[in-house]
């Protein structure tokens, strides 16, 4: 039953065909068998999950259905604060941190009736594209365990692909949901900036971070999005726009939809297998009535460097609070305040986090601000304008999600610049604040999953879900990685 879709599992619980306890027990035992092979979970909550499942079953017996996820076991990236449950961001500096409150996303999935199985591995503070930068060790790709799963939500994508949860919630700052979804053969969506509350989601880069679903099917992702989306007064950047029926949108089809193909995204650097698979996705859309339009997003070439100014700058400030004073790791034996803070941070943060904190600190420094952060903000405006102009002519934009299928563990870990290039197609959507989805559209000759990315207008997640659902229906692919457990 671990291969069921989330919607089927939810229906089975509601129809009393199966109990939440049976489902939860099945998945917990699968986690027990599979997780040692892929390291997708950093915290598993067997007792709490079984308790919650029992409570959901009791409610069902009394005719109470909390919401669309009633009794369905799911899991979340270890970046969302969970009251009384260790929340680490896969960092030594927060290794024993128990938050005093629940993130809005956590509140919402709980009030929708979901059962929380555990917390998933990630790149430390969401900084990475391979989930190798975790203090708990790397996550391995369930399709080929010598490969990385992508990142930073690699734990969530791998866990979903391995059938160890029905869906998960990740976060995406520069592609951290879409790129691992692509590399693990699952569906991942970064909603419009402001669609999902960031309250309780540990900040990496505040103006780019956005939580979103990772699931095995487009309707499943839509169901999770319906639950977590919506205005939250605790997040000033969340937007008060009504939440439509996202599941229904997956049935809309693409008749008459104009699909933009930005020439900048199909230039050099795209792996042949990726190009072939994305072309197939386009063909499937056209065969169901969509129209292809070639477009240009002229400032695309500046996106990566713009991102690597803005994201580290914000991170350098967001991560300054981890100083050993109030919570988390504190270096032992320091003499005096400055030594305590410096050593705490030197010992508590990993290499990639330190690299970005230093880049960001530099970019914000007096005398450099205008040349770096100030300039990057201007380029960001130009990138946003590119998309706005493109959306005058097209409804969605189709691109590869990542330039290549999953690479080998350790292949790029010592070469940050090459690693950063894995996010070249996903980063622009974060800079522009627009929604994006990655949907499986093929396999490489080596049997590695490949995803297609669809980008849409602000708050038009529905068109993305409609188009992604068509690709999913037209290109049948295995949903669960063939891991023997």
């Amino acid at each position: 039953m671990h291969e069921w879709t989330l919607l089927d599992a939810a229906k089975a619980v509601r129809d009393k065909e199966i109990s939440s306890r049976e489902l939860t027990r099945a998945l917990l035992s699968r986690i027990e068998r599979i997780n040692p092979k892929i390291n997708a979970y950093v915290t598993v909550l067997p007792e709490a999950a079984m308790r919650e499942a029992a409570a959901r079953d009791e409610e069902i017996a009394r005719g109470i259905v909390r919401g669309p996820l009633h009794g369905v076991p799911v899991a979340i990236k270890d970046i969302f604060c969970t009251k009384g449950i260790r929340t680490t961001c896969a960092s030594r500096i927060l290794k024993d941190f128990d938050p005093p409150y629940d993130a809005t996303v956590v509140e919402r999935i709980r009030s929708a009736g979901a059962v929380l199985l555990g917390k998933q591995n990630m790149d430390e503070f969401a900084m990475g594209s391979s989930t190798e930068m975790s203090c708990f060790g790397p996550v391995l790709n369930p399709w080929a365990t010598d490969r990385i799963p992508g990142g930073s939500s690699g734990g969530t994508a791998a866990a979903v692909a391995a059938g160890t949860c029905f869906a998960g919630v990740g976060t995406d700052t520069g592609g951290s949901i879409r790129q691992p979804a692509s590399l693990c053969g699952v569906v991942g969506m970064k909603p419009t900036y402001g669609r999902v509350s960031r309250y309780g989601m540990i900040a990496f880069a505040s103006s780019l971070d956005q939580g979103g679903p990772i699931a095995r099917t487009v309707p499943d992702a839509a169901a999770v999005l319906s639950v977590i989306a919506g205005y939250d007064r605790r997040d000033s950047t969340s937007v008060d726009v009504p939440v439509p029926d996202y599941v229904a949108a997956t049935e809309r089809g693409v008749k008459g939809m104009r699909v933009g193909l930005p020439r900048e995204y199909f230039a050099e650097g795209v792996d042949d297998s990726v190009r072939t698979a994305v072309t197939k996705a386009l063909t499937s859309l056209i065969s169901l009535g969509a129209e292809a339009v070639e477009i240009s997003l002229p400032h695309t070439g500046y996106a990566l460097s713009t991102y690597y100014i803005i994201a580290p700058a914000e991170a350098s400030s967001n991560l300054a609070r981890y100083d050993g004073v109030r919570y988390g790791y504190r270096a032992a034996g320091a003499k005096g305040l400055i030594e305590m803070m410096s050593r705490t941070r030197a010992e508590g943060f990993g290499e990639e986090v330190k690299r970005r904190v230093m880049i960001g600190t530099y970019a914000l420094s007096a005398g450099y601000y205008d040349a770096y952060y100030g300039k990057a903000q201007k380029v960001r405006t130009l990138l946003r304008r590119d998309f706005n102009e493109a959306f005058d002519h097209v409804d969605v934009i189709l691109t590869p999600t990542a330039p290549t299928p999953a690479f080998r563990v350790g292949e790029k870990v010592d070469d940050p610049l090459t690693m950063y290039l894995s996010d070249i197609y996903t980063i622009p959507a974060n800079l522009a604040g627009i929604p994006g989805i990655s949907v499986p559209c093929g396999m490489s000759p080596d049997g590695l999953p490949i995803g297609a990315q669809l980008l849409g207008k602000h708050f038009d997640e529905e068109s993305l879900l409609a188009a992604a659902a068509v690709i999913e229906r037209e290109i049948p692919l295995p949903r669960v990685a063939p891991l023997e457990g």
């Binding site: 604060c81 950047t237 914000e314 400030s317 609070r321 305040l337």
Partner: protein, 477 residues
Amino acid sequence: MRDNQGMEFEAVIGLEVHAQLATESKIFCACPAAFGAPPNENTCPVCTGMPGVLPVLNRRVVEFAVRTALATSCKVREKSVLARKNYFYPDLPKAYQISQYEMPLAVSGHIDIEVEGETRRIGITRIHLEEDAGKLVHAGAFAGAQTSLADLNRCSVPLMEIVSEPDMRTPEEGGAYLRRLRDILVYLEVCDGNMEEGSFRCDANVSVRPKGQKEFGIRAELKNMNSFRNVEKALEYEIRRQTEVTLDGGTIVQETRLWDADAGVTVSMRGKEEAHDYRYFPDPDLLPIHVDQAWVEELEKTIPELPGEKVARLVSRYGIPRYDAELLSSSRRLADFFEASVAAFGGNPKVTANECIQWKDVVAAGKLSPETIAHVVEDRETGKVSATASRKLVELAIETGKPVRQLRDEKGLTQVSNARALEAIVDKVIACNPKEVESYRGGKAGLLSFFVGQVMKETRGKANPRVVQEVLKAKLG
């Protein structure tokens, strides 16, 4: 001050005020902003900077600052930006303070002050919003303390920073500006103005230059002054120090200096100070603050008569001295009380003003009614009670809460002003003191007060001394 060649120096002073806004809750969370709670009681995940939390701006804070801006003739910007000021310190849980940097809430205002009968206009550069930091408590002496404890109650308490132009030239002007600014904030009910508790704090930038020179001298920043008087004293000291250093051929260094109130000197903080780079940038967790014109117009209607206007009106309407008007206007409540007292009787406003000023603490505590003052003033003007008795009556009224006229009658504190009623007693006193009568008639006019005293003694203080004198003079010839 002059040097031996007769060169004259003048000071250039600019003041930065941090006023704590009197909102119920903090600037970015719902915790109470109140002073005096047990350590870390008024805190939540947001103001203690837990991972994942986000700030939400308190609308009331913006409202208070906009009203202050309007009351100081500032231009309120339609769009202003909250920015992060980054630095590490254990009393700053996020390791950044949310403040305003490049785009403050309001700019270009002024306040008029009166010094030695002259009106001076002091410019206001900007008004911006920010959050306060917490407080560290050191176990043992500050230097060498083994432990430091952080109390985060004050974290994210709303502050408004009001920066003046370097328009003041003397410590008196500095003091007058501060007092006027404080009075305005208290009038607006946006700040309690308490300097000792730190809800109204002031730093001063001061430099000296030869009179007539256009360029400013090198300035020092003075901190740690917790009363108006201390600000004036610190400025006085610092101006003298800088002038002396300059006259001795030395140079002034740009530095921060702490006022040591006990020693009466400013002390350099050099050595402790590092070159800070705060890496300001707009806070991505908060949207820009938008203040629309309609809201500004609505808030404009809530601005009461301000201290400067009130002083001028009290002087012209009631003919009281400016000094009295200033004292009365130091609090809106006192000024209102004065006007109500005058209205209740309509007697001499100057006498009423004196009474109001004499009882201002009781008025502030709300323990006195304008009728009490009105009746006492009226009874004194009509000679029904003496000055001594009237004070006693007010005290009794405060104590018992009874109407002052009832008390007057109950306690028999009415003054005898009827000449005929006093004649018999005067006759008696004259009869009992023949020697003194002889001396008086012989030219010792000073003895009149002796006779007045004797009559007062006989009447147990109830006689109107003015009437007694008249009767005595007539009888003694």
